[in-house]
């Protein structure tokens, strides 16, 4: 949702690195849907300067801490961590992100990973 992206961009306007997502290869329909769900359900914690990104930056280089920029995620890992939770990230329930949406998020986040 553009509203949330704008909002987050405003919230981190101070951070010089804040900006649009790097240009990728064109997204498949599933990946596009995944990005839309990710924006609503994950971005408030995984956008630049947000809690999840900051938490991950404590244990990996900053350029890897933003999930959307990762090239080493795999779909099983993304879906499992979403359901089980990791660190302080609470589990995301099926009523919030159903299995089809979880698949779509995973497809979006792994679009740049080697297959």
């Amino acid at each position: 949702m553009n509203g949330i992206r704008t909002l987050l961009a405003a919230a981190v306007a101070a951070a010089a690195t804040a900006g649009v997502i790097a240009a990728d290869a064109p997204l498949t329909a599933q990946q596009q849907h995944g990005r839309k769900v990710f924006d609503i359900k994950c971005l408030p914690c995984h956008g630049p300067g947000m809690w999840g990104t900051n938490a991950l930056a404590r244990r990996m280089p900053l350029d890897k801490a933003e999930l959307e920029k990762r090239t080493d995620l795999n779909a099983v890992m993304v879906k499992t961590l979403m359901r089980v939770g990791i660190g302080s990230m609470p589990p995301i329930r099926k009523t919030e992100v159903d299995d089809a949406d979880a698949d779509a998020i995973a497809a979006y986040l792994t679009r740049n990973s080697p297959r």
Binding site: A10, P44, C45, N54, A57, R83, V84, P91, K94, T95
Partner: protein, 531 residues
């Protein structure tokens, strides 16, 4: 059902399986959630070491009030306790987990429609699964003419937060005050519309007049277990012309009483027209660090509560005083000028006070400091001792008299030093007249000893506060009976009244047994002993 799932207390496996089949007949097999993976998602994610004591046996996810009606009827036949949640993000108070182990979570997240936004009359009518992000988006899509009053983390439910007496930071700060009209499914499956919603056939008045005719029921369904709320009207703040932010800092440790006494009259006459939050020195250090992803070990490595002189030095080096208060005012630009002049005049009389302000004007993009757009970064504080974290609160209601607030703070601070936690404490002005003194204990969930200490600290504070005559405004599922005990006037007349109502409306006690210490006759045997 996997082997490790608890059963609802007193219900046989055969009966439970039969009920699950009947539930599936209503919501479909996919939305009777019984796998270990699914049940895990309903545990209290920030539990103070006792997540399994509040494990559910299953979760049900209906999409309509009719489905909710059918589910409560089945639950009644099989005597199965249901624990309704709207979005189940009641973090620090139990998340989506029930008080009574083995209850079935009634997860209303899929009922997620914004049914109406009325810009002319200033309200929205929402279903339980609508969270503050959803409502914010829906309002923005219509030009942002109405504003939400979001709690610090925005992924909770508009309905769930209002039902819990939650708070946001606009003039409509206490969300329960903004409730106007509900639809409620009672334990026997009946559906009631409160207030003007009862008029048949109804018109445009449900969300504009709270009182209807006869007794007013809305607030009876808040912090209670008397019904399942399936719709709620919520009044929304019309976009003001301007917003001003105030950050006021007082230099010395002894300045808490003068801070409270200076704010009180300004809030009472509505010069300050939205809730303020006073932060103690620890919180003033910890909040900005957490927002940047920094944990305690980056500034301090020793055990115990960080020494006060270290805290003072840290704040001084940043040019800040020991006591800080933040709030926003909502008005026209001219109105803000008048308010600002009064506030500055009041704080000019306080030695060493520093007042900083900022303004926003209609047409500019919403700024983070306005706290009117939902965010999730405030949750980052739980990582203070390194993740995976959690936190529990002590939250007594205290009259905003400087000496009284200072007395409670002193009691809290001593206990934090004794128990070895950094004394993070906010003072939330809830509802204009009161302050909720709100120390939060952060803990690392993987450190069993620290988690145990955090629990003990909470219990000790409850006892200390109760002895001085204070009562909390809200409680974690592990402490609901402890807090109910604080309200003991006339041999617990308040709880006895609650129990009578409970027995009348829900004789089998199938709705949220133990919620806020209300068990009812049917489920009282389970009080205090996990199944």
């Amino acid at each position: 059902m996997t082997a490790s799932a608890p059963l609802p207390p007193g219900v046989s496996a055969a009966d439970f399986n039969q009920a699950l089949k009947e539930f599936a007949g209503v919501v479909g097999h996919d939305w009777v959630l019984t796998s270990e993976e699914d049940r895990h998602t309903y545990l209290d994610a920030f539990a103070p070491g006792d997540a399994d004591k509040h494990a559910c046996s299953a979760a049900l996810a209906p999409t309509t009030a009719e489905e909710v009606q059918a589910l409560v009827k089945i639950a009644n036949r099989h005597r199965i306790p249901l624990w309704p949640v709207s979005t189940g993000r009641n973090l620090a108070y139990g998340g989506s987990a029930p008080v009574l182990r083995g209850s079935v979570v009634l997860d209303l997240k899929r009922m997620n429609r914004v049914l109406e936004v009325n810009n002319e009359l200033g309200y929205a009518l929402v279903e339980p699964g609508v969270n503050f992000f959803d409502l914010f988006e829906a309002l923005q899509a219509q030009g942002g003419k109405l504003w939400i009053s979001t709690p610090a983390p925005g992924w909770g439910s508009v309905i769930g937060n209002a039902l819990e007496h939650g708070v946001g930071y606009t003039p409509y700060g206490v969300n329960a005050n903004s409730i106007c009209g509900m639809e409620v499914v009672l334990a026997n499956g009946d559906v009631v519309r409160t207030g003007m919603g009862g008029v048949n056939p109804g018109g445009q008045e449900w969300q504009v007049f709270k009182y209807g005719y006869g007794p007013v029921w809305d607030l009876m369904f808040t912090q209670s277990n008397f019904g399942v709320v399936t719709k709620m009207g919520i009044w929304l703040l019309p976009e003001p012309e301007a917003v001003a932010n105030f950050a006021i800092s007082l230099p010395d440790m002894g300045d808490l009483p003068v801070m409270v006494d200076t704010l009180r009259p300004l809030r009472l006459d509505d010069t300050i027209n939205a809730p303020y939050t006073i932060t103690n020195p620890y919180r003033s250090i910890m909040d900005p660090m957490s927002a940047q992803g920094k944990t305690r070990s980056t500034i301090y490595k020793g055990p115990g509560c960080m020494p006060l002189d270290f805290v003072e030095q840290t704040l001084r080096s940043r040019g800040e005083g020991m006591w800080n208060v933040g709030f926003n005012l909502f008005d026209s630009d001219k109105g803000l000028d008048l308010r600002e002049a009064k506030i500055r005049a009041a704080f000019d009389k306080v030695p060493g006070a520093k007042v900083k302000t900022m303004r926003w004007h209609r047409g500019e993009p919403l700024a983070g400091w306005m706290r009117v757009s939902p965010v999730l970064f405030p949750l980052a504080g739980v990582d203070w001792y390194g993740g995976p974290g959690g936190h529990i609160n002590y939250a007594p209601v205290v009259a905003p008299i400087g000496s009284r607030i200072a007395e409670v703070y002193d009691m809290v601070y001593r206990r934090y030093v004794e128990f070895g936690f950094d004394c993070y404490c906010g003072f939330l002005n809830i509802g204009g007249r009161a302050i909720v003194v709100n120390p939060c204990t952060f803990f690392n969930r993987e450190d069993a000893e620290m988690t145990r200490r955090a629990r003990e600290l909470a219990r000790v504070l409850y006892k200390d506060g109760a002895a001085k005559g204070f009562g909390d405004y809200r409680a974690h599922i592990s402490f609901m009976d402890d807090v109910a005990d604080m309200y003991g006037y006339n041999d617990h007349a308040a709880r006895r009244l609650g129990d009578k109502v409970k027995d009348a409306l829900d004789p089998n006690g199938i709705l949220a047994p133990g919620k806020q210490g209300l068990w009812g006759s049917a489920q009282r045997v389970h009080k205090g002993k996990p199944a």
